[in-house]
C-alpha cells in the first residue's frame, strides 16, 4: 500500500504497538486499539463482503454495532470459528484471522454475483412465489437455496472458551457512557446511589470524546476536553462501577436486564487460556437510565451500497478517533448539518473534499461558511442520482431537486470520488426502551420516534431521547436526571455551549432519480438486500401492516435488525400508502440488541453441568458391574447389565428369566418417597387415592392410583401405614416432585383444615428390591433376626427391623408378580446392603436387573407404567382397573369426572393385551393399530404402548390402547408397518399367573 491513510496521532490507537493480522489470507498491519474495520480501512481495504441475495460487493459502512455489511467469519481454527462478527466491533490482536462470508470462491470474484444481473427476476417474495410449485419439490429446492444463502460457518467442535453468569443488583443502571451517560453517572454516584455504568465500547465518552473541533465548546473548553475531565472525575467515585466492552442485550420487565461483558475477545489467543471469555450479567436495577445515543441514517438513492460509501459520522470517527482517512477524494452527501462536522475534520487533516451535496436549498450553519472559505464546493438543493464503480466507488452523478423534492431537474453533473459520506439525520436508539415495553411517539419536526411512556422505573436521556444538540443534551440531562433520581444538588449549573451546527433538515425518505424506480437499486436494508422498489411492490401487492411488509421483503430481518434502514422503510410505506408515519408504529425490536453467542447464554451449564444428574447410593456398584444407564428424569438408572458380548436384548432376556426362575435384584432407590404424618393422614389418603384407606391396618401396604380432577390417571404407587398417623407413600420416579407439589396444593388451598404434614424423603433411603422364588431365602440370610414366614410376614405388609445396628424397613410388595421384598435403609448404607444381598444370593443365582427387565416383567403381569401405558387421557376404567375405584367413597380427586358424558363413552381408548399371530414377532412401541385397511383414510383405533419378547412365556407380548378395546377380546386387528402388516389378536392384559400364585410360591 503506497497510500498514506493513517495520521501520526490519534486518540485511541497506540502506534508503538504494531499488530499483524490476516484477512482473506493476506497479512496486514494495524495498531493496538484498531478495530478490524479501522485497520482494513487504513490499508485501503473497503470491499469486505458480498450481499445476501444479489452478492453485490459491499464495504464497511459504519463504525459501530449497527454495521450491516462488514460481517465476517472470525478465526480459521474450527473450534473457535465464529460467523457474523461485525468488523467494526472486533478489536484487532496479534494473529487475528478473519475472512469474508457469503461469497464463493472469493470476495473479489463471487459466482453468486450473477444474481445481481438476474435481479430483475428476483423481486421481493421471489422465493415464496417461485418455489411453491410443485409443493413436493420444496425439499429439493431448499438444499440449493440454503447452500447459496449461507451466512457464515458455525464451529464444528466444542467451544474451548469459558463463559459465566453473574447477578448484579444496583440502585441505578446507566446504559451508554456517552456525554449524557457520563453526566448521569456523576449525578447518581455523587448522591450516594450504587451506580453501574456500562458501555459496549472499549473506551468511555461515546462520540463526544472525539469532538475536538474549535466550533464545539462546553463552558469555554473544547467539548472533548471538557468530557475527559468529567470522566477523570467519575472514575474516582466510590459507588460507581464502570464496565466497558459490555453491551446490554435485553431489557425485560421489572428492570431486569441482560448484558454481555466481553473480557478476552481483544486479546491474542495465547493470552486467553483459563480466562473467562464472556460474562452474562443478569442485572436487577431499581432504576434504569438509557443513554444509548442515536444512529446516523443513510440516504436512499440508486446504488447507495457500493464499497467506499459510509455514514458521514463513521468517516469522522475513523479520522478523529482512529486517525484514518477512508479515502483521498471525498464527497459528502447530506440533508442536515452533521456532515459539515465531518467535513471540518477532513479539512483539519488536509484531506481532499471534492464536494458537498446537500438536499437543502439554504444552509445557515457556521461550518458551511467556514468550508466555503476553504473553497469547498457545496451543491445546495441537489441529490445524488447514481454512483459508479463496482468494487469501490469511483464517482457519482448529481441533479437538482425540484421544489417539492419529488423529482430531479436540470442537467446531470458527474463528480469523481473514492469515498462518499452520507448523512440522513439521526435515529434515536430506542431499541432497549421498546424491548422493555415502552411506547414511542413520532416527532414530526425531524421525523424521529422518541420515548413516550415508560413501563417501569426508567428514563431515557441524551440523543436516544431525541435530544440531538449539545445544548439540549446537557441541559435536559441535568433536569430530567435530577427529577428522576429525586436529587437536589449537582455540580452542574448552567452550560455555555458553542456549536457549529443547527437543527435544520430536509427529510426525503426515498430520493428521486432520473430513472424509473423499477430500474434503480436503492437499498433500504443492506444486509438483506431489500430495496425501495421491493417495499413499494409489497404495498402494490396489498400488504399494509408494517409487520407483514417486513416479513415479505425481509427488511430489518438481518443480524443487524435493520438498525440503519428501518425508519426509511416506514417512511416509504407511509408516503406510498398516503398515511402518517406515526400511525404505523414500528416493527418490534426483539432481544438481543446485538447477537450473543450460545456460550454466553449457556454459561457454565455445559457438559455434566447442563442439567442436574441424580445418582443412587448404589450407582458405583452398577458402574463397576458394567451397567448401561438410562435417564429417568434427572436420575441415572441402571438399564441392563450386559455380560461379555451380550447385546441389550440378550441381557434383558437373561435377566428376566433369572428373576422368575431364581432371584433378581433391582435398585429402586429412585422411586419417589413422601413421608405423611398427622391425625388426618388416613382421611387425606382417602381423598387423594381412588380406593379406600381408612381401614388399612398398621403394618400393611396398599397400591393406590391417583387421578387428576379431570379423572385421568396421574400417578401410582404403594403406600404403607407405618403407624396410626404415619404413612410412607411411594410415587413414580419421574412424578415424585409433581405429586408432592399437587398434594401440598390441596392441603394448603382446598383442605387447610386437615392436620397433615408432607416431607420428601426420596434421597434419604436406598431401596433394594429382591424378587423371585429364592428371594425369601436370600433376605432371610441378609436379615437373620427377622421372621420371613408367610404367616408372620405376608404379601403387602411391612416390618421395622435392623441390619446389624442400622434400622431399616422391609416391605413385601411386588412389581414383578414374583415373591418380592423391598429393603429401605438409610442411603449411605445402601451399597453395602446391596453387596450383602449379592453375596448371600450367589448360591441362588441372584441376578441384578435394570429398568428394561423391570418393564418386561411387569408387562407380563399387565401392570401399567404411568406415562408409558397412560397419557393424560386415560381413566382407571379405560385401564380396566375398575377394581381400584371405590364405589363407596363420597368423594376423591377426580371422582366426579369418572361419570361425565365423555368419560363413560364405550368407544374410549382402552388398555388391552395384544398377541401377534407369529409369536416371534415383536411389535414396535408407538405403532398404530387399525382394523380395516381397505378403506382410505384408514381409521386409527389406537397404538402400542408396551411391547416385549417374553422369555418366560416364549412369545411376544404387548399392551396397547384401542378404541372400545374392552369389548374386542379375541378380535383380530392389524398393525400396519412400513413394509408389512402384522396381524394381532386382542387379549386380556395379564399374560402370566393371573391368579397371583407366584407371590406365595414355595420351592
Amino acid at each position: 500500500m503506497s497510500k498514506n491513510l493513517r495520521f501520526k496521532s490519534s486518540k485511541l490507537v497506540d502506534e508503538t504497538y504494531r499488530v499483524s493480522f490476516k484477512f482473506n489470507d493476506k497479512t496486514y498491519y494495524g495498531y493496538k486499539g484498531d478495530t478490524l474495520a479501522s485497520a482494513l480501512l487504513a490499508n485501503d481495504v473497503h470491499l469486505v463482503g458480498r450481499s445476501f441475495k444479489y452478492h453485490r460487493p459491499r464495504g464497511i459502512m459504519t463504525a459501530g454495532s449497527e454495521e450491516p455489511n462488514a460481517i465476517i467469519q472470525l478465526h480459521d481454527n474450527t473450534s473457535r470459528t465464529e460467523p457474523n462478527v461485525r468488523a467494526t466491533e472486533i478489536e484487532i490482536y496479534e494473529g487475528l484471522v478473519a475472512s469474508s462470508q457469503n461469497c464463493w470462491p472469493s470476495v473479489n470474484f463471487d459466482i453468486g454475483g450473477i444474481n445481481n444481473i438476474l435481479s430483475p427476476i428476483l423481486p421481493a417474495g421471489f422465493y415464496y412465489k417461485t418455489f411453491m410449485w410443485p409443493k413436493s419439490f420444496w425439499e429439493k429446492y431448499e438444499y440449493f437455496i440454503r447452500k447459496s444463502a449461507g451466512l457464515g460457518k458455525s464451529p464444528k467442535e466444542a467451544d474451548p472458551d469459558i463463559y459465566e453468569h453473574k447477578y448484579i443488583h444496583c440502585d441505578v443502571l446507566i446504559i451508554g457512557a456517552g456525554l449524557s451517560g457520563i453526566m448521569a453517572a456523576k449525578m447518581s454516584a455523587k448522591n450516594g446511589l450504587k451506580t453501574l455504568l456500562v458501555d459496549e465500547k472499549s473506551f468511555l465518552g461515546g462520540s463526544t470524546i472525539y469532538d475536538n473541533s474549535e466550533f464545539s465548546k462546553i463552558n469555554n473548553q473544547i467539548t472533548s476536553s471538557w468530557l475527559e475531565k468529567e470522566i477523570n472525575e467519575i472514575s474516582k467515585l466510590e459507588n460507581l462501577e464502570i464496565k466497558t466492552r459490555t453491551s446490554v442485550a435485553a431489557f425485560h420487565g421489572y428492570n431486569f436486564l441482560l448484558a454481555r461483558e466481553n473480557l478476552t475477545d481483544h486479546l491474542p489467543i495465547n493470552q486467553r487460556e483459563n480466562k473467562i471469555r464472556h460474562r452474562l450479567l443478569k442485572i436487577r436495577a431499581k432504576k434504569v437510565i438509557s443513554a444509548t445515543g442515536a444512529i446516523e441514517r443513510p440516504l436512499i438513492f440508486d446504488n447507495n451500497d457500493r464499497p467506499g460509501i459510509l455514514l458521514s459520522s463513521a468517516i469522522k470517527k475513523y479520522i478523529d478517533l482512529y486517525g484514518i482517512a477512508c479515502g483521498e477524494n471525498n464527497i459528502l452527501f447530506t440533508n442536515n448539518d452533521t456532515a459539515y462536522e465531518t467535513a471540518m475534520s477532513l479539512v483539519q487533516r488536509g484531506i481532499k473534499i471534492n464536494a458537498i451535496i446537500d438536499n437543502r436549498e439554504e444552509i445557515e450553519s457556521k461550518l458551511s461558511y467556514e468550508l466555503e472559505k476553504n473553497n469547498i464546493r457545496i451543491f445546495k438543493g441537489y441529490t445524488v442520482v447514481d454512483t459508479y464503480g463496482y468494487k469501490r466507488i469511483n464517482g457519482l452523478s448529481i441533479m437538482q431537486l425540484s421544489k417539492d423534492g419529488q423529482k430531479v431537474i436540470g442537467k446531470k453533473i458527474k463528480l469523481s470520488c473514492d469515498s462518499l459520506g452520507v448523512s440522513g439525520g439521526w435515529t434515536p436508539a430506542v431499541h432497549l426502551f421498546t424491548q422493555s415495553g415502552g411506547k414511542l411517539k413520532f416527532r414530526e419536526d425531524d421525523q424521529v420516534f422518541i420515548p413516550n411512556k415508560y413501563p417501569s422505573d426508567q428514563l431515557s436521556i441524551g440523543s436516544c431521547n431525541g435530544d440531538l444538540s449539545l445544548e439540549d443534551i446537557t441541559t435536559n440531562t441535568v433536569l430530567s436526571v435530577k427529577k428522576f433520581l429525586n436529587i437536589n444538588k449537582t455540580d452542574y449549573k448552567t452550560f455555555e455551549i458553542i456549536t457549529g451546527i443547527n437543527k435544520s433538515k430536509r427529510n426525503i425518505w426515498l430520493l428521486p432519480s432520473d430513472k424509473i424506480l423499477g430500474k434503480t437499486k436503492s437499498f433500504v436494508d443492506y444486509q438483506n438486500d431489500a430495496t425501495a422498489k421491493d417495499i413499494k411492490l409489497a404495498l402494490r401487492e396489498g400488504f399494509r401492516s408494517i409487520e407483514h411488509v417486513k416479513r415479505y421483503t425481509t427488511t430489518g430481518m438481518g443480524t443487524d435488525q435493520g438498525k440503519l434502514g428501518n425508519m426509511h422503510a416506514l417512511g416509504i410505506i407511509s408516503e406510498t400508502a398516503g398515511t402518517k408515519i406515526g400511525e404505523h408504529g414500528t416493527t418490534t425490536f426483539r432481544p438481543p440488541y446485538t447477537p450473543l453467542t450460545f456460550g454466553t447464554i449457556v454459561g457454565r451449564n455445559v457438559g455434566e453441568f447442563f442439567d442436574i444428574i441424580r445418582r443412587t447410593p448404589i450407582h458405583d456398584w452398577h458402574v463397576a458391574n458394567n451397567a448401561k444407564f438410562e435417564n429417568v428424569g434427572q436420575w441415572k438408572r441402571a438399564w441392563y447389565y450386559p455380560k461379555e458380548n451380550e447385546n441389550m436384548h440378550q441381557a434383558v432376556q437373561r435377566e428376566s428369566k433369572a428373576a422368575r426362575d431364581y432371584a433378581g435384584i433391582l435398585d429402586a432407590s429412585t422411586l419417589g418417597k413422601i413421608d405423611i404424618q398427622g391425625t388426618d393422614a388416613s382421611e387425606f389418603l382417602n381423598r387423594v387415592y381412588t380406593n379406600a384407606w381408612s381401614k388399612l391396618a398398621i403394618g400393611k401396604c396398599r397400591y393406590g392410583l391417583m387421578l387428576n380432577e379431570d379423572g385421568m390417571v396421574y400417578d401410582d404407587g404403594v403406600t404403607t401405614r407405618l403407624d396410626e398417623n404415619h404413612y410412607i407413600m411411594t410415587t413414580t420416579t419421574g412424578g415424585a416432585a409433581n405429586v408432592l407439589g399437587k398434594l401440598e396444593d390441596y392441603l394448603q388451598t382446598e383442605w387447610p383444615e386437615l392436620d397433615v404434614y408432607l416431607s420428601s424423603v426420596t434421597d434419604h433411603y436406598a431401596t433394594i428390591s429382591v424378587c423371585g422364588p429364592h428371594s425369601k431365602k436370600i433376605v432371610s440370610k441378609v436379615i437373620p433376626d427377622l421372621d420371613f414366614s408367610d404367616e408372620k410376614f405376608p404379601h403387602m405388609s411391612f416390618k421395622n427391623t435392623k441390619i446389624g445396628q442400622i434400622k431399616c424397613r422391609v416391605m413385601r410388595i411386588s412389581f414383578t408378580g414374583e415373591q418380592s421384598y423391598e429393603i429401605n435403609i438409610q442411603s449411605n448404607y445402601g451399597k453395602s446392603v446391596w453387596e450383602k444381598c449379592m453375596e448371600e444370593g450367589k448360591d441362588f443365582n441372584i441376578t441384578p436387573y435394570g429398568t428394561e427387565t423391570m418393564h418386561l416383567l411387569r408387562a407380563e403381569k399387565g401392570f401399567i407404567i404411568v406415562g408409558q401405558d397412560t397419557d393424560a387421557t386415560m381413566t382407571p376404567i379405560d385401564l380396566q382397573m375398575d377394581w381400584i375405584v371405590s364405589k363407596k367413597k363420597y368423594d376423591f380427586i377426580g371422582k366426579r369426572s369418572l361419570y361425565r358424558s365423555d368419560t363413560i363413552k364405550d368407544d374410549r381408548k382402552q388398555l388391552v393385551g395384544l398377541l401377534t399371530e407369529n409369536p416371534k414377532e415383536v411389535l414396535e412401541e408407538g405403532a398404530q393399530i387399525v382394523a380395516d385397511i381397505t378403506k382410505s383414510p384408514i381409521e386409527m383405533l389406537g397404538h402400542v404402548t408396551s411391547s416385549y419378547y417374553s422369555p418366560n412365556l416364549n412369545k411376544s407380548i404387548a399392551l396397547g390402547v384401542v378404541k372400545g378395546g374392552k369389548k374386542m377380546l379375541g378380535q383380530k386387528l392389524i398393525i400396519p408397518m412400513e413394509n408389512k402388516n402384522i396381524n394381532v389378536t386382542v387379549a386380556h392384559p395379564v399374560f402370566l399367573d393371573e391368579e397371583g400364585e407366584r407371590l406365595n410360591a414355595k420351592l
Binding site: G437, E709, E744, Q748, D891
Partner: protein, 91 residues
C-alpha cells in the same frame, strides 16, 4: 422476569415460583350433586382477561407456600400479594 413479593419470604425472582392459574376457584364441596355442566364449569372454565387478574402462585423453590397475587396482564404489574384464604382486594 417478575419480582414477586412472597408473603412469607419477601421479594424473590420469578424463577423461584410456579404459576397455578386463576385464583378463587373453590373445589365444590359436593361434586356428586353437580350436573356435568356445573362440574365442567369448575373443571375447565378459566378467565383470560386484559387487566387485573387474580392468580395463584407457589413459591416452589422457596417456602413451598401457595398464595395469591393480583396482576395486570397488560403490563405485568403486580398490584397486591395476599395469602390463601384472604379475600381478593377490591380495586
Amino acid at each position: 422476569m417478575f419480582l414477586i413479593n412472597c408473603p412469607f419470604c419477601g421479594e424473590r425472582e420469578q424463577s423461584e415460583f410456579k404459576a397455578g392459574g386463576e385464583a378463587h376457584i373453590e373445589r365444590p364441596k359436593q361434586p356428586t350433586e353437580l350436573s356435568d355442566d356445573e362440574w365442567a364449569e369448575f373443571l375447565f372454565m378459566r378467565k383470560n382477561i386484559k387487566g387485573v387478574q387474580f392468580e395463584r402462585w407457589n413459591h416452589a423453590h422457596g417456602c413451598r407456600k401457595w398464595f395469591n397475587i393480583a396482576r395486570d396482564t397488560s403490563n405485568d404489574q403486580i398490584k397486591t400479594v395476599y395469602k390463601m384464604g384472604e379475600k381478593p382486594p377490591v380495586e
